[in-house]
Structures are given as structure tokens and as C-alpha cells.
């Protein structure tokens, strides 16, 4: 394995097969091995919206530095399916190492780059013949892949032992046997790598965890005291519910699968009223259904965290594919004017940090707070630094205890205050009675249409956004602060742009990257970043340039904003994005 890059530092691998045939375990095994060697790991899955069949692909990146995208220079591919190769053909490095199961026929002419090193064998057939089950094709193929990476056979064997142990010795033995079949075959075919994967220091590794964005959000939420989650299954948000269902019992909390998204958001609201920190999570279609409820939380001043694990729309769209096309819905959905905040994490570390933040903000400012994720960020596994519980501070805002109340002459749940935030109580408090409503009301919560009151209440509610400004998550700035070209991207575009920035620099384009972590209310730093640049490429995963639209509406100069958009249902790839930017630069 040679390429222009040093393989010791950074390898991109793809495994593809048929959904449900177990082939993606090859990726998991390689991931384990490389993680044991101290690499940072990033993995992606691309599956069809069906239970069995369809092309399923897993991508794996092992790198010395932390990365959050699979690059479009793939050096190693293991495929059990010709369609899988076809799908990523353009992303294979010229000298890619390709392991192909030709049980169902050879790859067509020109299916891989001319100079690629293709090693084809009928793994499936061999597995059936020699081991009695197709499934063992996967373990056979692992042998080829580890040879390509020059990982010692023994290391693979011990990894197999660890991995399959809990399934019983028979399974261990059978897989080891399959592996040996693979090694023997590889020997026969003379397969070996040029450059081995390094053994990195184990130092960094211990402080790292491997986690998806959805899981990191769950951790942040519970660490911030979140104890009630209501949701409804939907790809790619379902893991929020599943994860919290498994955790909440031991934390004295509840995660509940409601009958639909309307029930989910309204159950969360009901629980929130009792003073519990609550969250709901969904994806596009479900988020559309929740709009009335979310606006109600804003109007009635009830804390609510909403996770939108975005997927490709519109409507049911491409349920398992990535996109960032609900930004407009989060920013402008719901009827009437009400305060809302939209935070946008870029990798699991952010997911944890911003989930904590969102949970605090929602309660402190008594309004809905969105966490805008996307399919890639939600579901892809990445190694990140272990989350630091010391960084978690719980801020319950203006909550009043019975002791506070007794020293007050009057308690008004919607009291007018300078910062727009009224002190609040929870039911069960002896002197804290309130009326909550989504109608316009006076300070006690009594419905009224008085126009003077109306204006005061509208102003009060919206004032929260200004009050919160200084504590909203600031963006991540990467690259040369004096560069005249800027890049902006959120969510999983962050990982892509980190890579793209390097590629641009390799091509001599000096640029700076901003990953804004608060989308709304807009932070001045975001607009300033654009003002201070000659041109800013806003890279986003939707058709209409929703993020660019937001930036312009909120103050960015139109003529400095250049949209780079993708909406083909596949992840944003750094090489592809960098190429478009370079092209646009050449024209500018």
C-alpha cells in the first residue's frame, strides 16, 4: 500500500456487502485492531431503508489525529458486492488495495482504477465449501485486509479471541479456522503490504472513548440532570430513545416511547412542568409534527430540548441518508413569534458539551432549545477525548424554593423582568401556584387580550435571546486567522471541512474555517467572520442553501457568501468539496 500519503498516519477503508449478511463486521474487526494500535477511529455506515438486502457499506478511517469524516481517498476496500464497488469507484485511490469476493461473478471491466491492486477470490463459495456457512466469508476476508495493513497474524488471532469469546468457544474456533483459511489463501496469492500500520503510543488511547453523536447527546443530557425523554422511533434518531431507555432506570429517570411525535413532545412538556429536565428527539417528518408543541413551549415558557437528527428529505425522503435540510424548519417552524435557540454540534465532543449546555439553557431561559444533528454525526462512531464531568455545571436559573417564596409578597410565573426571564416554581411547592398557558396572559398567567400587556409579554419573551447571547456556545475557528478566504460548515460538515482545509492548503489556498456552534440567535462573531473575509464558502448539505440564507438574513453581506451545496444523499467528502472551492476560486 503506497500512495502520496504516509499510510502510517491515515488510512481510509471501505467494506461493502448486502444488508444483513454480516459483512460489515469486517469493518468492526479492523476498527478494533487499529484502535488497539492507538489510532483514532472514525466509522460510517451507509445502509438501505430495509431490513435485509440492499447494498450496505461501512467506512473506516484510522488516523493519528482525530478525524470526523471518511476521506475520498480510499486506500483499502473489502467488497462482497459489485454494486458496492461501483458506488464508491470515484473515491478509490489510484493504487487502492481491493479485496473482492467474486463468488457471484467478476468485477466488470474498468470497475476499479487501472493501477489499483485487485485481489479477488470466491470467499463466499470457499466459506460454504470449507466451513459450511457463507457467513465465514467475512473472517476469511479479514485475513486479506490485515495482510494489506501488515498487521501481524497473531494480533488478529488474539483480537478474534477477545471479540468472539462471549459467543462461546465454538464460534471462536470456527472463526479462527476461517481466518486461517484466509491467511493460507493470502499466502498462496502472495498478498502482503508495503507499509505497515504503526503501533502508536497507548497513552492517548486510554483517555479516549469511541461514541456516536446520538450517544454523546444522551450522555450530555443525563450528566446535565436530564431525567425525562419521550420519543418515537425514527431513523436516524431512534438510538436516542434506545440508549436512554437502557440508562434511565438506574438514574431514576424515564425514557418513553410515545404513540407518536405529538404525544412525545407534549409528554416532554408535561414532565418539564414538574421541574424535570426533559428532551425529545426525532428526525424531519417527526419534527414537522412537533412544530405546534415546540412553539407552545416557547409561548408558555416551558423548558424543552429537541434533538433533530436530520436525514435526507423532503417528506419521508431517503430515510437512512444524510442531509442538513431541516435548518429552516428549526429556525422558522411553529406559528407566531417565540424565542428559540438552535445549537449545532460538529462531533461527539460537541454533542456532549452542547447537550449539557442546551439542557441548562432550556431551563434557565424557559424556552425550546434545539440540538441540530445530522445522520452522519448522529450515527457514525468516532474516537474522541473522554468527556470531562468536571466541566458539567448545572444551572437551574431562577428556580424558587419554598424558602425563597415565603419572603416574597407576590409570586407571578410570568413576572416581567429585565432579562425576560421570570422566576419559576414547580408543582408541589407550597406557595408557588401558577397558571401556565400558550395563550397571551398577564403576569399571573391569566388570559387577557390587553394590547399593552401583549406588547410587554412579547418583548419579555423575546428579550431572552439577547440575555442569553453571552453564554451561547461560540464557534470553533481553525486555520490561519488572517486568511482572506473563509469556510463555514456545521454538523458533520465540520469533519469534512477540517480535511478540506488541509487539501486546500496543499493546493496553496490559505483559508480559515469556522464551525458556528450556535445558529440562533446569531452570534456577532459569526457575522464578523464573514465581514473579515473576502469570500466565505458556506458548505452545507441541502439544496437551497439554508445556512447561507440564515447568515444573510441575520447580517452577512450577500456578496461575500458563496454557497457550496450537496444534496445527493451521500456524505460530504472533503476532496469533492475542496475541488469545488478551488474551481470557484479559480473563477473569482
Amino acid at each position: 500500500m503506497t500512495s502520496s500519503k504516509d499510510h502510517l498516519d491515515d488510512v481510509n477503508i471501505i467494506v461493502s456487502g448486502q444488508g444483513g449478511d454480516g459483512s460489515l463486521t469486517v469493518s468492526t474487526i479492523l476498527s478494533d485492531l487499529l484502535r488497539e494500535r492507538g489510532y483514532n477511529i472514525y466509522t460510517e455506515r451507509d445502509v438501505a431503508s430495509r431490513i435485509k438486502g440492499g447494498v450496505a457499506t461501512a467506512s473506516l478511517r484510522a488516523s493519528r489525529e482525530s478525524r470526523h469524516v471518511r476521506s475520498d481517498d480510499v486506500q483499502l476496500m473489502v467488497s462482497f458486492d459489485a454494486e458496492g464497488v461501483e458506488k464508491v469507484k470515484d473515491q478509490l485511490a489510484d493504487d487502492a488495495f481491493i479485496v473482492f469476493d467474486d463468488s457471484d461473478g467478476r468485477l466488470p471491466e474498468g470497475a476499479v482504477p487501472a493501477s489499483a491492486r485487485l485481489h479477488a477470490a470466491p470467499f463466499g463459495k470457499i466459506a460454504v465449501r470449507q466451513l459450511g456457512r457463507t457467513l465465514y466469508k467475512n473472517s476469511i476476508a479479514v485475513a486479506f485486509a490485515t495482510r494489506a495493513l501488515a498487521i501481524e497474524d497473531d494480533e488478529v488471532r488474539s483480537s478474534f479471541e477477545r471479540r468472539f469469546r462471549r459467543m462461546g468457544q465454538a464460534i471462536v474456533d470456527q472463526n479462527l479456522q476461517a481466518l486461517q483459511v484466509g491467511f493460507d489463501l493470502a499466502d498462496k496469492m502472495g498478498i502482503s503490504a508495503d507499509v505497515p500500520m504503526a503501533r502508536l503510543s497507548a497513552k492517548g488511547q486510554n483517555k479516549q472513548i469511541q461514541i456516536t453523536g446520538n450517544e454523546a447527546v444522551c450522555l450530555g443530557f443525563v450528566a446535565a440532570g436530564g431525567r425525562f425523554f419521550a420519543g418515537y422511533p425514527i431513523t436516524p434518531a431512534s438510538e436516542l430513545l434506545a440508549t436512554l431507555e437502557s440508562w434511565m432506570p438506574r438514574l431514576g429517570g424515564i425514557a418513553w416511547q410515545a404513540e407518536d411525535e405529538l404525544a412525545a413532545v407534549n409528554m416532554a412538556i408535561g414532565a418539564s412542568i414538574t421541574g424535570v429536565r426533559v428532551m425529545t428527539g426525532t428526525s424531519g417528518p417527526g419534527l414537522a409534527l412537533m412544530q405546534e408543541g415546540i412553539g407552545h413551549a416557547g409561548a408558555a415558557e416551558i423548558p424543552l430540548v429537541i434533538v433533530d437528527a436530520q436525514r435526507a428529505g423532503p417528506s419521508t425522503g431517503l430515510p437512512t441518508k444524510p442531509e442538513q435540510s431541516d435548518l429552516d424548519l428549526m429556525l422558522y417552524g411553529g406559528n407566531g413569534d417565540f424565542p428559540r435557540m438552535v445549537l449545532a454540534p460538529g462531533e461527539p465532543g460537541d454533542c456532549f458539551e452542547l447537550a449539557v449546555k442546551a439542557t441548562n439553557l432550556a431551563e434557565k431561559y424557559q424556552c425550546p432549545v434545539y440540538l441540530a444533528l445530522d445522520q452522519g454525526l448522529s450515527q457514525n462512531l468516532a474516537t474522541v477525548d473522554e468527556f470531562d464531568l468536571d466541566s458539567v455545571v448545572i444551572d437551574r436559573g431562577k428556580i424558587l424554593s419554598e424558602e425563597d417564596l415565603v419572603s416574597m409578597d407576590v409570586f407571578q410565573r410570568y413576572a416581567l423582568t429585565d432579562d425576560g426571564v421570570s422566576p419559576y416554581t414547580t408543582p408541589g411547592t407550597q406557595s408557588g401556584f401558577f397558571l401556565l398557558t400558550g395563550n397571551e396572559r398577564d403576569e399571573f398567567g391569566r388570559v387577557t387580550t390587553s394590547s399593552a400587556n401583549r406588547v410587554r409579554m412579547m418583548d419579555k419573551r423575546m428579550a431572552k435571546l439577547d440575555s442569553a447571547l453571552s453564554e451561547l456556545p461560540t464557534g470553533r475557528f481553525i486555520g490561519d486567522p488572517n486568511a482572506k478566504v473563509g469556510l463555514i460548515g456545521i454538523g458533520s460538515a465540520y469533519g469534512t471541512l477540517v480535511d478540506a482545509l488541509e487539501k486546500l492548503s496543499a493546493y496553496g489556498l490559505n483559508a480559515q474555517l469556522l464551525q458556528p456552534r450556535t445558529l440562533f440567535p446569531m452570534l456577532p462573531e459569526t457575522i464578523e467572520f464573514i465581514t473579515n473575509s473576502d469570500r466565505v464558502y458556506v458548505v452545507e448539505h441541502n439544496q437551497t442553501g439554508q445556512l447561507a440564507g440564515l447568515l444573510i438574513r441575520e447580517g452577512a453581506e450577500r456578496n461575500r457568501v458563496r454557497s457550496v451545496i450537496r444534496y445527493d444523499g451521500t456524505p460530504l467528502r472533503p476532496g469533492d468539496i475542496a475541488a469545488e472551492i478551488l474551481e470557484k476560486e479559480a473563477q473569482s
Binding site: 425525562f228 438514574l251 424515564i254 409528554m267 410565573r413 408543582p427 401558577f434 388570559v447
Partner: protein, 288 residues
């Protein structure tokens, strides 16, 4: 004493059935010695949806049709609260129908008083799922009967029907419903026939149509099948049963989730470090 919101006077039309519901509810809190600050009234949207403004209690005005999930969420989060949801037939039987069925199924311990006037009062007399045959061209067979519905669901534990023109029975049923849910036995459903004098004034009608099951000593409210067929017979004769219609036994939702007053979400100490080791072990589980 800290002054909190002053309860307001109802803005209902004189003669509106909802007055009776309010009286029964407010007095039930007294009769049952419900401590007011540990009670909360959840209301729907409609004329009925202002009832919480008139009761000394914590109060919440939900979205149209969403009073049940909101109340269920609150109950799960804090089972120490005595929760009464109340709303109209439009709220509960039209837009809220799905939640009603699911609440029967799940059996969370709160009371729901459906203030059924067979029309949408607040939006000026539209047809509702419980409008009588003939109302604005409603055809026979269209009327939804939430009690029959409740009988069809195996999770149901309490079904009663009262009439705001019969305060004595209504008070008893309100007490029974609130007691059922306060004791953690599950979802107590009380339908109240509560005429709308402005758009569907049927006080006359009801006088002859309502049949008090209390007058039948042999009636067994624990026999679901018998309750169903008896109600069916009555309905076929143009009558509607009132009183305690069914009482069953099923685990309450909060109990199946292991939530108790002592170990409920609302009672978790989240600001101290008591859960810290749990959090750390969750984080550790990702060192995979």
C-alpha cells in the same frame, strides 16, 4: 402568605354545564383533603379549557387535543402530584382521540374529566364526534361513545359517567375517580354530560335519556363483558348509562416503569454529585 394567582370567575354562559363540573371538582379536592399545592389541573382548549383558572391548584392550559400526553408526562415525572385533566369532547374525542385510546391502554394514574356537550362551544357550535344524531345533519352511527371505547381496551381501569345536572351523583363520581388515580390504580375516566346552552342545549333531553346504574343493585362494574352488553342494550333503547360503569385492575403505567414517589424523575437530586459515579460508568462503557 405569598400572593399567587387569584382564581378567576368563569366566563361561561349562564347555565353552561361546565359550572357543574367545576363545582364538583373544586369541592372534591376539599372532600378528599387533596393538598392544593400538590395538585395540578391540566385543561384542554375550548370553553371547557378554562376550568383550571377557577381552581386553587397548579394549572396548565394545554394545546388543543394534547391534554392527555401532557398530564401523563407530568404524572410519570412526579407521581406525588394529584393530577386532574379536563377538557371538551372536541378536545378529547376529535383531535385527541388517539391519545385517549393510548391513555386507556397505558393506564397512568391521573383523572380525566371529559366535559362532553356534544359540540365545540368555543368555536361556535360545530359538530363534534359526540354530537347527537340529527345535529347539523349528523347521521346515526357517527357518535363516539368514550365509555364503550374504554370498555374495549384491556388496559382500562376506571370508567364513569356523570351529568352536570345531577350534582350529587357527579360529586360522588368525581371523588371516586380522583381517589382511583390518587391511589395509584391508574387512569380514571369520568365523562360528564355537560350541556352547552348556546349551541346544543339538551338539558330536557337528558332528563329522560340518562339511566343511573346505581339504581340497579345487580349491576357488576367489574364485569367488562356485561358492562359492554348492558350499555349496548341501553343505547339501543335510547338510554345512556350513568354512574360507575367499570372498574378493573391493571398495573398503573408509573408502577410498571418502576417510578414511585420516592424514586421519581422530579425527585432526583441533579445538582449534587450523587449520580456522578453512574455518569462516569456510562462514559467508561464507551471505551470500546
Amino acid at each position: 402568605m405569598t400572593q399567587t394567582f387569584p382564581t378567576t370567575e368563569p366566563i361561561w354562559c349562564a347555565g353552561c354545564g361546565h359550572f357543574g363540573v367545576l363545582r364538583a371538582l373544586d369541592s372534591a379536592f376539599d372532600r378528599l383533603s387533596v393538598s392544593r399545592h400538590e395538585s395540578m389541573v391540566f385543561a384542554g382548549i375550548g370553553c371547557s379549557g378554562t376550568i383550571q383558572n377557577h381552581v386553587k391548584s397548579y394549572g396548565y392550559h394545554a394545546l388543543h387535543g394534547r391534554v392527555l400526553p401532557a398530564a401523563a408526562g407530568a404524572k410519570l415525572a412526579n407521581p406525588s402530584l394529584t393530577i386532574v385533566a379536563a377538557g371538551g369532547d372536541g378536545d378529547g374525542l376529535a383531535i385527541g382521540m388517539g391519545h385517549l385510546v393510548h391513555t386507556f391502554r397505558m393506564n397512568p394514574s391521573f383523572t380525566y374529566i371529559m366535559m362532553n356537550n356534544g359540540t365545540y362551544g368555543l368555536t361556535k357550535g360545530n359538530v363534534s364526534p359526540s354530537s347527537p344524531t340529527g345535529f347539523k345533519g349528523m347521521t346515526a352511527g357517527r357518535d363516539a361513545d368514550p365509555i364503550m371505547l374504554g370498555l374495549s381496551l384491556s388496559g382500562t381501569t376506571f370508567l364513569a359517567r356523570g351529568y352536570s345536572g345531577q350534582m350529587e351523583q357527579l360529586s360522588e363520581l368525581t371523588d371516586a375517580a380522583i381517589t382511583h388515580s390518587r391511589e395509584g390504580r391508574g387512569f380514571a375516566f369520568l365523562e360528564v354530560i355537560s350541556p352547552c346552552v348556546a349551541y346544543n342545549d339538551r338539558y330536557q333531553d337528558w332528563r329522560s335519556k340518562l339511566h343511573d346504574l346505581g339504581s340497579e343493585p345487580a349491576y357488576d362494574p367489574t364485569d367488562r363483558g356485561a358492562a359492554f352488553t348492558h350499555a349496548l342494550e341501553l343505547k339501543e333503547n335510547g338510554q345512556l348509562p350513568t354512574g360507575l360503569i367499570y372498574k378493573g385492575k391493571k398495573d398503573s403505567l408509573e408502577s410498571t416503569l418502576g417510578v414511585s414517589a420516592a424514586n421519581a424523575p422530579a425527585h432526583q437530586d441533579i445538582t449534587s454529585s450523587v449520580h456522578r459515579s453512574e455518569y462516569q460508568s456510562l462514559i467508561d462503557s464507551f471505551r470500546r
